[in-house]
C-alpha cells in the first residue's frame, strides 16, 4: 500500500525523514520576511487544496491573514480509508510539511500552530519536531494533536473541534472556520500535502511550480492507488488515467471501473481511462481528482455489490448529528444492499434516487452530499448490473442473487 516509487521528477518525497538531509536537499526554511508576502506567490502558482475540496489556497490564506490573532492547523487526518498519501508524506518528508506549516503561520501572522495527524505517523512527526527544536529551525512551536480514525474527523470544522479538545465532529458552517475556528479565532486548516507544496513554492517560485501539470491546474499531486493495483505516486495534474495506472505497475487483470476521488467520488468506466486526471478532464464523468484516491475494480467483480459495501461503510461513518444524514444514509445503504443481495423489488432504483435527493445538501458537512455523489455514480456506471440483479442475475455470482 505505501510502496513509494523513486521518481527523478518527484518534488515532495525526495529527502527522507532526517532534518540534515532535508536541509541539504531543500535548504533552510525560506522565511518571507513578514505576513502576506507569500500570498501573491501562491496565487501566481495556482495552488489549490489537496485535502479533497480543491479550494484556492491563496484565498484561504488571505481570509485568515485579515483576521485577528489567527491559528494554523496542518491537517493530516486522512479519514478516507482508501487514502495513504498524507501518512506516506508525513513518514518520508515530514520536514517539507513542517516548513510549510511555519511559512503558513508567518504568512497569516499566527502565533499558534497545530499538526493534526493519525496515530500511525504521529511518532515520526514528533521525532521530526524534536530535530527541529534542537536545530532551532522553527519560529513558533507546533503542537501535535492525534486524530480519531473516523471518516469525518478530517473535515475542516471537525479538525477545529479536535484541536479544541472536543469530539472530532463537524460543526454548523454559519460562521466560517477562516473567520471563527479554534477558540473563536480565525483558523487556517490546510492539508499537509498542500503545506508541502507551499514550502516548495516559497523556495522555487510560481514558474517552477507551473512547469508540471496543466495551465489551468498546475503542479503535481500525490495519488493513492488501491484495489487491483496499489501504492502512493506523485503525478502531474492532467496525466491520463491509464498512465496513472501504468505508473502503479499496470493492471494485472482488466478493470471494469475505477473509483476516482475516494469514497465520496465517482466511478469511471474503461472508455474514460484516456481522460486527463484533472477537474476539467474528469468533469464529463462528474468526478474530481479530490485527494487523489483511485480504487481499481477488476473485471469479474460485481460493481453493485462493491458499491453497496462502500455505501454501508459511509452510512456507518455518519457523525450522528444531522437528522437527514443519520436517518437517510442507513436507508440508502439498506436499499443498495437489497439491490445487491436481495430481497429484490423493481421499485428499489427509484427509491435510491428519491432518498438521494432527500438527504442532499441537508447536513452540516459534505458527508451526505459526498455519499450521494458516490451512490448516483454507482447506479449510473453499474446500470446494467442493476438491471441484471432485478432479473435475478449477477455478473459475479451468476444466478440466484436473491
Amino acid at each position: 500500500m505505501t510502496a513509494t516509487v523513486v521518481d527523478s521528477r518527484a518534488r515532495l518525497i525526495v529527502a527522507g525523514p532526517d532534518l540534515a538531509e532535508h536541509v541539504r536537499r531543500h535548504g533552510p526554511v525560506p522565511w518571507q520576511g513578514g505576513p502576506h508576502r507569500l500570498i501573491p506567490l501562491v496565487e501566481a502558482a495556482g495552488l489549490t487544496g489537496h485535502g479533497g475540496a480543491g479550494f484556492p489556497t491563496h484565498r484561504k490564506l488571505a481570509a485568515v491573514a485579515a483576521g485577528d490573532r489567527p491559528v494554523v492547523v496542518g491537517n493530516g487526518a486522512e479519514g478516507e480509508p482508501a487514502s495513504a498519501k498524507d501518512r506516506t508524506l508525513l513518514h518520508h518528508a515530514p520536514h517539507l510539511v513542517l516548513d510549510g506549516l511555519q511559512l503558513a503561520a508567518e504568512c497569516v501572522g499566527a502565533s499558534r500552530a497545530y499538526l493534526y495527524v493519525q496515530q500511525a505517523p504521529a511518532e515520526a512527526v514528533r521525532h521530526a519536531l524534536a530535530q527541529r527544536r534542537a536545530a532551532r529551525q522553527d519560529r513558533i512551536a507546533v503542537e501535535v494533536v492525534v486524530a480519531a480514525d473516523r471518516f469525518v474527523s478530517g473535515e475542516e470544522s471537525a479538525v477545529v473541534s479536535a484541536v479544541e479538545g472536543r469530539a472530532p465532529l463537524p460543526r454548523d458552517k454559519f460562521r466560517m472556520v477562516v473567520k471563527s475556528g479554534v477558540r473563536g479565532r480565525p483558523t487556517l486548516v490546510q492539508n499537509v500535502e498542500t503545506l508541502a507544496h507551499l514550502a516548495l513554492i516559497a523556495r522555487h517560485g510560481p514558474t517552477w511550480f507551473r512547469s508540471r501539470g496543466t495551465a489551468e491546474e498546475p503542479g503535481t499531486f500525490l495519488a493513492t492507488v488501491n484495489g487491483a493495483v496499489g501504492g502512493v505516486y506523485e503525478l502531474p495534474y492532467g496525466v491520463p488515467v491509464e498512465e496513472a495506472l501504468a505508473r502503479a505497475g499496470g493492471t494485472p487483470v482488466p478493470l471494469q471501473a475505477l473509483l476516482v476521488g475516494g469514497f465520496h467520488g465517482a466511478w469511471l468506466p474503461p472508455e474514460a481511462f484516456g481522460a486527463p486526471l484533472s477537474r476539467a478532464g474528469l468533469r464529463p464523468w462528474g468526478a474530481v481528482p479530490g485527494a487523489g484516491v483511485l480504487v481499481a475494480l477488476p473485471l469479474g467483480r460485481c460493481g453493485l455489490i462493491e458499491s453497496a459495501r462502500i455505501a454501508g461503510y459511509l452510512a456507518g461513518e455518519t457523525a450522528g448529528q444531522c437528522g437527514p444524514c443519520v436517518n437517510g444514509l442507513p436507508r440508502l445503504a439498506t436499499t443498495l444492499h437489497r439491490l445487491a443481495h436481495g430481497p429484490l423489488h423493481p421499485a428499489l432504483p427509484a427509491e435510491v434516487a428519491r432518498l438521494s435527493a432527500l438527504v442532499e445538501r441537508r447536513g452540516a458537512c459534505n458527508h451526505p452530499d459526498g455519499t450521494v455523489r458516490f451512490i448516483r455514480s454507482s447506479m449510473q456506471i453499474f446500470a446494467a448490473e442493476v438491471t441484471a440483479h432485478l432479473a435475478g442475475r449477477c455478473s459475479q455470482h451468476g444466478r440466484g442473487t436473491r
Binding site: L169, P170, R171, D172, F174, Q321, C322, G323, P324, C325, N327, G328, L358, R361, R362, G363, A364
Partner: protein, 67 residues
C-alpha cells in the same frame, strides 16, 4: 434578500418552524424541515412569520442569513 439557515447539528425536528412557515417548509418522513424551494428565500410578506420561527425554535437551530 433574506434566507433561512438550518443548523442541522442542532435541529431535532420538533416542527415549530414548519407550523409557522408552511409556505416555505414541510416535514420529511423523519420529521425534519424540508424547504419547498432549494434555497429557502423568505419573501418580504413572510418575514414576520419567519422571524417568529427563528425566535421560537426550541433548539435555536434556525437563523436568518442576509444575502
Amino acid at each position: 434578500m433574506t434566507r433561512l439557515h438550518i443548523d442541522w447539528t442542532a435541529c431535532e425536528g420538533r416542527g415549530a418552524c414548519v407550523e409557522l412557515l408552511p409556505e416555505l417548509l414541510y416535514r420529511d418522513e423523519w420529521g425534519y424541515p424540508l424547504a419547498r424551494e432549494k434555497q429557502p428565500q423568505v419573501p418580504p410578506a413572510l418575514e414576520g412569520h419567519a422571524r417568529r420561527a427563528v425566535r421560537d425554535c426550541p433548539r435555536l437551530a434556525l437563523r436568518f442569513v442576509e444575502t
